[in-house]
Amino acid sequence: MWVDPAKQWAECMGAAIGQFEVVVTELPRAVPARDVRQVATVARRCDGVLVVLADQPHAALAADVVFEANGSTWSTVGSGYLASQEMRVALRGRRVAQPHVFPLVLGASCTDDS
């Protein structure tokens, strides 16, 4: 589902959090800090997972778990085309007892079947 946040980001988040198992959102730049805090409060009260896509963590949205992807490398099929992407994902946060880094491969199932 895609929702254009415009000026109704907080209202939309209030309607979605707790009703869907996973809610993914970008943080609009102009959203007031008060709205962010309200959404964070609702998210803590409800079941489900809230994923916030952002370059920098927001002060009001203290995430339990932070995924940070770094160091992408691409592999190819021969010299033909990009077939998969491997990156290193760092996992940290206040609910992570031991921060660690693991590899993540995207698109590995894409093979040349021609």
Partner: protein
């Protein structure tokens, strides 16, 4: 025979506003009309035929009423009327009426079989909501016309297609699954809502109507039924009201019925009422068994499903059609394989329909020649951004007629940012609809891995079209 004869009024150009005015005007001819869709209205002929003195007189009256509406007159009377012994017959007759001038096509009862038997089986999908895969299978079985299907024994079709086979046989034999609506029946299910704070705008009224629809569907669904015909009525605080009969041969799902009510509400509120809506009701007149939904293991949809549907309803009342869900479209353009379509306009509760909507190959083909091989960029750059691709000497790189780079690409210039190409793949030419000068498209694609001045690595999908390079996707 005359008991089930019907007329269908058809606009060649769909227009919800004109249809609403037409529906209101046709109530002069008969009080019980059904709006089939945004360009067709159905009228039972029994009462009007007796009153006006024959089918020709009724059809002529209907035509004059339609032409009396200013908006229709300005479109050069682009309306046709079909009369027949069943909905399907009347719809086909109205369709064959042509455009340009108003036309009337009456299929007499004794000619109906002859008229139907030569019709292609494709009309079942177009007018009777028979599923495309069923129509395709009928073709492959050699049953290409309605006459060929009618000649097959009904039991044989039921054995092969289940209850749908029986319905198809009835339609092809000139019958109707449900008689036209001529008088209100005892209600099968009645829901209503009163609003002390009147609703003056479309979205809140539609949201409230959507809740009523959900109650109807849940109530009937618990009994294994679905509403096939109902009366939806909206009333303002000043007692202005708008009532419509809605019919669907397969029964209404939430999205389909809510969409129809949205049209009814938008058209009605657009008239400029003197007060907001204070009461609304749905009176289910006819039901049919619900074959489509595969219920959960314990016989019902899960609580998570119901919570998600309710949330979508609330979000739609906030941001309208900006609540969207994915739909597989396929094609050669990797950035448009999936489209986002308004959630209110698609079926969300039927798992088979949902699966068909998102699964490549279920309805539209999943494999396209010329499609991008390998990874599809997960990030779509919309609108696409114009960039420059340069060689080591700073000259623009193009793709030759032999589908080769003119020189080796070394740089991508994205505005003020200069990115060094560390690896590139392609070019892959694509030429679409070369036979159609207005829609033809010719381009070449290239994947490239680039490195910024800060040693940050990224990969992009670029397209060369009309001598310009465009950045369309990012392997983020």
């Amino acid at each position: 025979m005359s008991a089930s004869r019907v007329a269908v009024v058809r606009l060649s150009v769909p227009d919800g506003r004109i249809m609403h005015r037409l529906a209101q005007a046709l109530v002069e001819v008969t009080p019980f009309i059904e709006v089939i869709d945004e360009c067709q209205i159905l009228l039972p002929m029994r009462g009007p035929t007796r009153y006006f003195g024959g089918e020709e007189a009724v059809a002529s009256r209907v035509r004059s009423v339609a032409l009396a509406i200013t908006a229709i007159a300005t479109t050069d009377g682009d309306v046709s009327v079909g009369v027949g012994g069943s909905r399907l017959t009347a719809q086909i007759a109205a369709q064959s009426g042509g455009s340009g001038v108003a036309k009337v096509t009456i299929i007499p009862g004794d000619q109906q079989s002859t008229f139907l038997e030569r019709q292609s089986v494709g009309v079942l999908e177009r007018f009777a909501h028979v599923r495309p895969d069923t129509v395709s299978l009928l073709f492959r079985l050699g049953l290409g016309t309605l006459g060929a299907i009618a000649a097959v024994e009904r039991d044989v079709l039921v054995d092969r297609f289940g209850p749908e086979g029986g319905d198809i046989h009835v339609l092809c034999s000139g019958g109707d699954l449900l008689e036209p609506f001529t008088e209100p029946l005892p209600t099968q299910c009645f829901v209503e809502s009163h609003h002390d704070e009147v609703l003056g705008h479309v979205d809140p009224v539609v949201a409230a109507a959507g809740e009523l629809v959900g109650r109807v569907v849940d109530h009937l669904g618990s009994r294994g039924l679905v509403a096939s015909r109902l009366i939806a009525t909206f009333t303002t605080e000043h007692d202005e009201s708008c009532s419509r009969v809605w019919y669907h041969p397969n029964g209404f799902a939430v999205a389909g019925l809510t969409e129809r009510l949205r049209w009814q509400i938008e058209s009605w509120l657009g008239e400029g009422l003197t007060a907001g809506v204070s009461h609304m009701s749905i009176d289910v007149q006819n039901t049919r068994p619900y074959h489509a939904v595969q219920l959960g293991l314990w016989g019902e949809h899960g609580a998570a499903d119901r919570a998600a549907w309710a949330a979508i309803g609330r979000l739609a009342s906030l941001v309208g059609d900006n609540v969207r869900v994915p739909e597989w479209w396929g094609g050669r353009d990797p950035m448009h394989e999936f489209a986002l379509v308004p959630a209110a306009r698609v079926e969300l509760r039927d798992p088979d329909v949902v699966r068909q909507r998102v699964m490549p190959g279920a309805v539209r083909p999943d494999r396209w020649t010329g499609a991008l091989a390998g990874m599809v960029p997960p990030v779509c750059i919309a609108p696409r951004r114009e960039v420059q691709v340069l060689d080591a000497d700073g000259r623009p790189v193009v793709v030759t007629g032999r589908h080769l780079f003119s020189t080796s690409p070394e740089w991508v210039v994205d505005g003020a940012t200069r990115l060094r190409i560390t690896a590139c793949f392609g070019p892959w030419p694509v030429e679409e609809r070369w036979w159609d000068t207005s829609r033809q498209r010719r381009m070449a694609r290239m994947q490239c891995v680039v490195e910024s001045a800060a040693k940050h690595t990224a990969a992009y999908l670029l397209v060369l079209e009309k001598r310009s390079w465009w950045m369309v996707g990012e392997y983020g």
